[in-house]
């Protein structure tokens, strides 16, 4: 009997607590963001917003990045959507075309901040002339190189390579140092890492990767074959660690900071990370080159923030977007954390001036590209897609490169045409 009373008391107390707690929770905006992206940056942005808006805080939930697209799609199908959605920018067009995002054009048309917002993010946030999102954070790829290893290999640490043949030449010398040191890094099982760091080598060499339209030609130009041949030769020459073949992206961001890699295509996020991992390592940053000296390119990636159809807090969500683009957030949150600002006119700030490496990597924004396709995941980002299959065959097999490229082309065309 006493147990029953005690149980009833406990239930009543729990009920009361729930009644008190629920209204407070109900006022929070719900936001989803993919994991595996720049979580530190998003956490800081949300914390800054929550500090300024205690009556409409954001409750942030991370979704595993490989599950983000299906999770959003399921939420849309079931009507249980969050108020804000941070998504990998390359998925923007797919969801915009499907009519699943709130059209914010009329609500934000007078914002002056949009004029200087990162172009790649704005392009993928736009569908048929209407705007569906704004930049959440930006990542750009560049060539990171270990100056300590350059010195040991007799290379000038102030002269990074400016062409693929120079990368090869430098990598050979660094690998010759022996031990566990290798000249370069190519991720063997990560589609995303390769579109971020290998596709720019192709773009810089004058080639295209994704089809620009449903019936467009993918993998166009000699640059594709030249880069694949270069990568195959680099691996055969032993310039890449053997376990790079199994790199699925899980440890990609930790590779450069290990201090065992001479050069590597990676992103701006690696500046802070490499310093934390290996404080004594001296490293430099250059633009990813093409076949010829002077050719450069980069991938402008990152996330956009959107509002899914069905969100009950559209006005609050729009306010959060405005907050992201404000001068204060750009400088005191993005720049202070040494992340790229999402507005081009905010790169001249005290934090960047104190850190030349960030200024160096920021140069990549000017030459960066962002693919625009309605089927990016299936075509490029999927570990099972034709892009990674093509790279794996080129990296690790001896099959004729023309055959590999033409088969990948056929697969990409079939997917794009569906």
């Amino acid at each position: 009997m006493s147990l029953q009373i005690s149980t009833r008391y406990r239930s009543a107390l729990a009920g009361l607590l729930a009644m008190v707690a629920l209204p407070a929770m109900a006022e929070d905006l719900q936001m989803w963001e993919r994991s595996g992206g720049n979580a530190g940056m998003v956490d800081a942005l949300v914390a800054a917003w929550n500090a300024k808006n205690p009556d409409r805080k954001i409750n942030l939930t991370y979704i595993p990045h490989t599950e983000m697209v299906p999770k959003i799609a399921q939420a849309i199908a079931s009507g249980e959507v969050p108020d804000l959605m941070g998504m990998d920018l390359i998925y923007g067009p797919q969801f915009e075309a499907a009519g699943q995002l709130v059209d914010i054009t009329d609500k934000v048309k007078d914002w002056p901040e949009l004029k200087t917002a990162v172009q790649g993010h704005m392009t993928v946030s736009t569908y048929e002339g209407r705007l569906y999102g704004v930049p959440l954070y930006a990542d750009v790829s560049a060539l990171f190189y270990n100056k300590d290893l350059f010195r040991k290999a007799g290379l000038d640490p102030e002269k990074p390579p400016t062409s693929l043949s120079e990368i090869r030449e430098y990598a050979d010398k660094i690998t010759a140092l022996g031990g566990d040191v290798k000249g370069y890094f190519l991720a063997g099982s990560c589609a995303g890492c390769n579109i971020f760091t290998v596709a720019p080598l192709m773009w810089a060499s004058g080639a295209t990767v994704e089809p620009e339209a449903a019936n467009g030609e993918p993998l166009n130009g000699e640059g594709v074959k030249e880069v694949l041949q270069w990568a195959r030769d680099m691996i055969k020459a032993g310039n890449v660690h053997e376990d790079a073949r199994a790199e699925t992206g899980e440890t990609f961001h930790l590779r450069f900071g290990s201090g065992k890699i001479g050069m590597m295509g990676t992103g701006n996020f690696n500046i802070t990370l490499a310093k934390e991992q290996n404080p004594s390592m001296d490293f430099g940053i250059a633009l990813l080159p093409g076949v010829k000296s002077g050719q450069v390119s980069s991938f402008a990636g990152g996330d956009i923030v959107t509002i899914p159809n069905g969100s009950k807090r559209v006005d609050d969500a729009i306010d959060f977007m405005k907050f992201l683009l404000s001068d204060e957030t750009q400088v005191e949150v993005y720049a202070k954390m040494l992340n790229m600002t999402t507005r081009g006119d905010m790169t001249e700030n005290k934090y960047f001036q104190a850190e030349p490496k960030v200024q160096q990597v920021a140069k990549a924004i000017a030459v960066a590209e962002t693919p625009y396709t309605l089927k990016f995941f299936e075509l490029i980002n999927s570990p099972q897609g034709p892009w990674l299959q093509m790279l794996q065959r080129a990296y690790y097999e001896d099959t004729d490169l023309d055959t590999i490229i033409s088969e990948a082309k056929a697969q990409m065309k079939a997917i794009a045409a569906e």
């Binding site: 599950e67 699925t248 299936e378 570990p383």
Partner: protein
Amino acid sequence: MHSKTSSYVGLLYVAPALAFVLTFTVYPFAQMVWMSLHNWSLIAPKKYIGFGNFVKAWNDPQVWTSLEFTLKYTLFITPILMILGYLIALLTAENRPLRQFTRSVVFAPVVIGLGASSLLWYWLFSYDFGLINRALIDLGLIARPVVWFGADADISMWAVIASIVWKVVGFGTILFVAAIHAIPGEIGEAAMVDGASYWQRVRAITLPLTAKTILLVTLVSVIGSLLAFDQFYIMTAGQPRNLTATSVFLIYLNSFPYLKLGYGAALSLILAGIILVCTFLQMLLSRRSHA
């Protein structure tokens, strides 16, 4: 009149079970069949395409690659699970403290989630930090670390098989032990009086009298292997080049990341048909061997 009333009463008795089956088995299955006849995306309106998804599956080389790999995996892992499980059961069947303890140890991994155990083995097989490479090098069996996942499909498959054998062999063992315990002791004693050796008794008495359990464990193992997903999703991600993408992996990939629910449903139906045929053949063979 009386019989009509009693049949209504009978129907009333089975109504809850019937409602359960209709709601949770028949309706989802019918929905899946309906879905398979459509171009059905999670985020766009559906479109009826008849048997288009099935035609597409027939012409999709990845479907055949995945099916071939799944069958290969099943063919390799099933005998290992059966033979090893049975041998451990024979070793630990007697109810003595040490043998009971051994049985518990072998069974323990069965209660761990497949996701957790796959993650555990993923790191055990890690190139840099894994215990397996370290142990093999220290034992002098290999000179340098092996890239277990992502490089060679066969090596990846055997690594996964090792992890799954560790994970599920205890399940078969426990069922075999229960079946061995159910054999009346007098039969074995009579055989011993007649001078039958241990292995003769196993062959002539234990194996035939536990045949039904062997069939059951084989069926469960084959079906489980044909439906393999978690272990490959976590440990190989289908790499290299989709050569370790099992059939269920392909269904998942199409249904969710690619948002092609209709195609995924068609692939699910095809796999369900294959499993049904395998089960039927297995039962048929078993009945014939009994006859």
